[in-house]
């Protein structure tokens, strides 16, 4: 246990250090984000000092780390909020999107993969594979804009960019920050359905990506399991093919699959900058990118810590699930 915590700590420190160094080598002047292009030299110098940028590098890093351990991530230059507050706002937006996308991706991807595996080499297999590959091969911003054009503009099935219709924006005070949950807490079904109609398109587009990956991995794990001896045993017992696939084979497929799903979930939780831009979705990816492009390093570091924590958290969760699903891994 101590070992795990220690190695987590090292990973975190490493993450911070790398981020910090990136911040320093970026040829972007962080002061510019704070004072703008037209500021006078005096103001510029004063702000630079205020930001602690004239200290030696190691001192800056040390200060930053010690602040973090006191729970202080500093203030973002761009939003002038404490970074922690910003993250509390942007992360739920990403979390909501990523979770829904993963739910869609998993609930369609696994059956698709299984379906392809049991029909290996026949047309259902080819269809699943081509559709899956397509999901992996299209630029997401193109797909996003096309999705908007077709489903929002032309067909009117879904709502446009944003998490809610604009004039609903003020009506909701974030409790959890998850729009779907908050609207339910408020008990306003109109708002809830509005939120659903906004999230469904970006979530589906992200889901398409994870679906493609999950389906492909499910297929190949499934093929591997179906050639195992215990499947033959099950057949010998006279068990229905249905049960063999969904209980026996899938039960074993879930074990490696859980890691695949976790990784794909973790990568969605990092936030997809491009999707967030297209769908005006104020999420983590956009936040970090914007901060990075303005050398708003407190925000970038804070965001990276969150992403790192999410990554590590999801990995640990998948380890736990792995143990639950695979009795061999239990101790």
């Amino acid at each position: 246990m101590l070992r795990i915590i220690f190695s987590l700590l090292i990973t975190f420190l490493g993450l911070l250090l790398v981020t910090f160094l990136i911040g320093r080598i970026l040829p972007i002047d962080p002061v510019l984000a704070a004072v703008g292009d037209h500021a006078s030299e005096a103001v510029y110098q004063r702000v630079k000092e205020e930001m602690g940028l004239n200290l030696p590098l190691w001192k800056q890093f040390f200060l930053y780390i010690s602040n973090i351990f006191q729970g202080d991530f500093g203030r973002s230059v761009l939003t002038s909020n404490p970074v922690l507050d910003d993250i509390k706002r942007v992360f739920p937006a990403t979390l909501e999107l990523a979770t829904l996308a993963t739910i869609i991706g998993v609930s369609l991807g696994i059956p698709a993969g299984v379906f392809a595996a049991i029909n290996k080499g026949k047309w259902p297999d080819h269809i699943v594979r081509i559709l899956g590959l397509a999901g992996h091969s299209m630029p997401i911003f193109w797909l996003g804009l096309m999705g908007l054009l077709v489903f929002y503009m032309k067909l009117g099935w879904v709502a446009g960019p944003g998490r809610l219709d604009s004039f609903y924006l003020d009506f909701i005070e974030p409790t959890t920050g998850l729009m779907l949950v908050d609207t339910l807490i408020e008990g306003d079904m109109d708002l809830f359905w509005n939120a659903v109609s906004h999230i469904i398109l970006p979530a589906s587009i992200l889901a398409y990506f994870s679906l493609a990956y999950i389906a492909r991995m499910t297929r190949s794990f499934m093929l591997e399991q179906l050639s195992q001896e215990y499947i033959l045993t099950a057949r010998v017992k006279g068990i229905s093919e249905h049960r063999i696939i969904w209980r026996h084979a899938l039960g074993n497929v879930m074990v490696p699959l859980i890691t695949v799903i976790a990784l794909s979930y973790a990568s969605l939780l990092e936030g997809s900058v491009l999707t967030e831009i297209i769908f005006a979705w104020p999420g983590l990816g956009l936040y970090i990118t914007n901060s990075l492009l303005n050398a708003d390093m407190n925000a970038v570091l804070g965001g990276t810590v969150v992403v790192g924590a999410v990554f590590i958290g999801v990995n640990m969760l998948s380890d736990v699930l792995y143990r639950v699903l695979d009795p061999r891994a239990r101790r």
Binding site: E229, T233, S240, D326, P327
Partner: protein, 280 residues
């Protein structure tokens, strides 16, 4: 006992299509099976397992089966629907696999796997099924059936696993049991213990047993009758007790090349194969 055949196979042939061309794994095998212990021996790749699997309709998809006859009671095994096969498998013909380590589902408890076999063919409630399963585990001489029932396959030893396998395959009470090298992954002593259990069960239930092995000595000491296979052909069929009078040079050669425990370090006679053996 063996006068009325349960299963009659005539001229069974199995051909696999592979990238390198067709492989004739089994070429015209015929035999009748009564309520007896029939051994099939032969070296690796001679088609023993494929013969056994064909009886259960479990040949791999790239394999093609032809036979003049494959009669099990009133069922023609050559053209059963998947649904009909499921009624036969487990309930009427069953099979024990070689290696319990790979043949049991690693993520299901042993109990669940046994119950599943039983309930597939018997409409009983879960409690009754569990009672039967525990009973069955006891009858394969497992000392702590409750514990084993709740255990996962990796938590039991190889010998134990093979007993579980036997319990699982016998619980629906089949008429024919095919055992494909059921003990070759086990230690010698455990091997014999498992065979003793099998022996008892066959005697008690009046089952027909097909015992597949490459160990001539073991088969001859255990079975009633032996089929000797070579390159997909049955080259000799012989009563087990008369094995020392085998006529076919292949059978004789196999017997001869076993090392003996006589303290003699001399060269072992080796098998010189003749092309004519492989001609149908």
């Amino acid at each position: 006992m063996s006068n009325e055949p349960l299963l009659s196979v005539k001229n069974l042939a199995i051909t696999f299509s592979t990238p390198k061309g067709p492989v004739n794994a089994v070429r015209g095998v015929s035999f009748d099976l009564g309520r007896e212990r029939l051994g099939i021996v032969g070296e690796s790749g001679s088609g023993k397992s494929q013969t056994g699997r064909a009886i259960l309709g479990l040949t791999a998809p790239n394999g093609k089966i032809t036979a003049d006859q494959m009669q099990f009671h009133d069922l023609d095994l050559r053209n059963l629907t998947p649904r009909a096969w499921r009624k036969v498998r487990g309930a009427r013909i069953s099979m024990i696999m070689q290696d319990p380590k790979y043949s049991l589902n690693p993520v299901m408890t042993i109990g669940d796997q046994i119950i599943e076999a039983y309930r597939e063919h018997h409409k009983v409630n879960a409690k009754e099924a569990k009672r039967r399963a525990i009973e069955m585990l006891e009858s394969v001489k497992i000392r702590d059936p409750e514990r084993v029932f709740n255990a996962y396959p990796h938590e039991v030893s190889g010998g134990m696993g093979q007993r579980v396998m036997i319990a699982m395959m016998l619980i629906p009470d089949p008429e024919i049991l095919i055992a494909d090298e059921p003990t070759s992954a086990l230690d010698v002593t455990v091997q014999l213990q498992v065979m003793a259990i099998l022996d008892d069960l066959v005697r008690e239930r009046g089952m027909a047993l097909v015992f597949i092995s490459h160990d001539l000595q073991l088969v001859s000491s255990f079975c009633d009758r032996v089929l000797v296979m070579y390159q997909g052909l049955v080259v000799e069929e012989i009563r087990a007790s008369e094995l020392d009078q085998a006529k076919h040079p292949y059978t004789k050669g196999l017997l001869n090349c076993l090392p003996k425990m006589d303290g003699n370090h001399a060269e072992l006679p080796v098998l010189t194969r003749e092309a004519s053996w492989a001609e149908a």
